[in-house]
């Protein structure tokens, strides 16, 4: 099949994503979205982070709070002693009538969309179960089917040429033809980092915040340096996942949004193979 735009290329359809990968991918999208939004609702109940076992209210590692600036109440975000005025975004938001609201993240990004910790927690724990069951199904599938070893584990030669891969990505030059059939080394490392480190870290730090689990499994506290540290790591790892999703979506957009979307829905991915290479 010849491509109309480039006569020297032919299109080849490859089966890129198995059914299990596609289903667990989309289930994860739903779970992560609800977990993020309900997580911000929970964070808003006390928009500050600490290190150690307890909350040192005078010296949080990070906080979003109201402060008096002369006569005006402003929202101040503090990170490791550095404070910036974030009125309207974090800490304090003014409404049309001149009245103001004290809150961490805007209610437009939380679930529910107004202060309701109890309901936020219900959403969070329901979708945490979906996330855990889905994640375990994915990991078992990846191990048993060879997906992890075959598609995700980078080879030694790939790791040796990681510098070249980074340079190509910086110039927005992405693998074509045969090379595009497989994940490239940066993709592999990013997926492994998320699937094997960040997501399990979310689960473990989440469990470390449960007083009951702490009683039964005190190593959860020691692992992260106390319950408040676990909460902080939970927040930072969530930020890491958001960062991954942003990069992931940008890559999906610039490497062919329809082709990528189709491959994650039907499994079929179109690659352009230069003539003579088949």
């Amino acid at each position: 099949m010849a491509d109309a735009d480039s006569p020297n290329e032919k299109r080849e359809i490859v089966y890129r994503h198995s059914g299990a990968v596609r289903i667990t991918h989309w289930a994860n999208v739903v779970a992560m979205l609800v977990l993020l939004m309900s997580g911000l609702q929970i964070f808003n109940a006390h928009p500050a982070l600490y290190l150690g076992s307890k909350s040192n209210f005078d010296d949080p590692l990070m906080s979003m709070r109201p402060m008096k600036h002369g006569e005006q109440v402003v929202g101040v975000t503090t990170i490791a002693g550095w404070s910036i005025d974030t009125t309207g975004i974090f800490g304090v938001a003014y409404m049309a009538d001149g009245d103001y609201q004290v809150r961490g993240f805007p209610w437009s990004v939380t679930l529910p969309g107004h202060r309701d910790l109890a309901t936020g927690r219900r959403w969070h724990f329901f979708f945490a179960w979906l996330f855990v069951i889905n994640g375990i199904a994915y990991l078992i599938y990846s191990l048993v089917s060879g997906h992890l070893r075959r598609d995700l584990a980078p080879g030694t030669s790939e790791l040796k040429h990681i510098g070249a891969a980074i340079w190509e990505h910086i110039r927005l030059k992405f693998p074509q033809g045969e090379e595009a059939k497989r994940y490239n080394v940066l993709q592999k490392l990013a997926y492994l980092l998320v699937a094997l480190i960040l997501l399990p870290l979310m689960l473990l730090t989440g469990l470390a915040m449960s007083p009951g689990m702490d009683a039964g499994y005190p190593f959860l506290l020691d692992m992260f340096g106390g319950r408040q540290s676990a909460r902080t790591i939970h927040f930072i790892a969530a930020g890491g996942i958001v960062l991954f999703v942003v990069v992931h979506l940008v890559m999906v957009l610039i490497t062919g949004v329809w082709n990528n979307l189709r491959s994650m829905i039907t499994g079929r991915y179109v690659i352009k193979v230069p003539e003579g290479q088949s």
């Binding site: 969309g113 910790l117 329901f126 702490d214 009683a215 319950r227």
Partner: protein, 200 residues
């Protein structure tokens, strides 16, 4: 595929899309979280969590104890520091000498205990972490009669499943299951703070 099945599928897709887009628009979701069917579904996870925790956490697991050096210098007030209630103010003015703890419901012997009665019972002191549902934690030193001792005195009926605490403040009435209390875990995590501590 029959026309009906097609329609159902379309209905399902429309509904899924509606749910997904409503969830996306957190700012306008007010209705979604209020839907009885949504609450029913979300509640299923609460049951799953409770059953799993019961299975995973050993019944005799105790909350971690800390040292004096770990005690929070500034223990945040959980709720209000003063109760806006005349009866409470009268009790407080008299050092709670007229106050009585009522233990009722599904018990063999309903109890009415004064502060002096409680202080005459064996007490336990512990330094444990208080985890607020809001997310913060403070470490405090607590002294009081283990709850298990009180419940043994009252004699829990086998049919009792939950215990509800009535506070001077109207709003917080946390319930806990009897399984948590009758285990040593319950007695350590939930001893009764002595009123000589600032009432929180």
């Amino acid at each position: 595929m029959s026309a009906k099945a097609k329609l159902d599928r379309r209905g399902f897709l429309t509904r899924s899309l509606a749910v997904a887009s409503t969830a996306l628009l957190g700012g306008c979701d007010g209705e979604l979280s209020e839907q009885p069917w949504v609450k029913r579904i979300l509640d299923k996870a609460e049951t799953l969590t409770r059953v799993t925790q019961r299975a995973l956490i050993p019944a005799d697991a105790l909350a971690r104890e800390y040292s004096d050096a770990d005690i929070s210098k500034d223990f945040k007030a959980n709720g209000s520091t003063g109760v806006d209630d005349d009866e409470y103010r009268a009790l407080a003015a008299n050092g709670f000498a007229d106050w009585k703890l009522t233990v009722g419901g599904l018990v063999e012997t309903p109890l009415e205990l004064t502060l002096a009665d409680l202080r005459a019972m064996p007490a336990r002191t512990q330094i444990t972490r208080h985890d607020c549902v809001e997310g913060w934690s403070c470490i405090g030193k607590w002294t009081g009669v283990p709850l298990k001792a009180l419940l043994d005195k009252a004699g829990l009926k086998p049919s009792a499943r939950y215990i509800v605490f009535y506070c001077a403040e109207i709003s917080p009435r946390p319930a806990m299951t009897t399984a948590n209390i009758t285990s040593p875990w319950g007695s350590r995590t939930r001893s009764i703070p002595r009123p000589s501590l600032p009432m929180r």
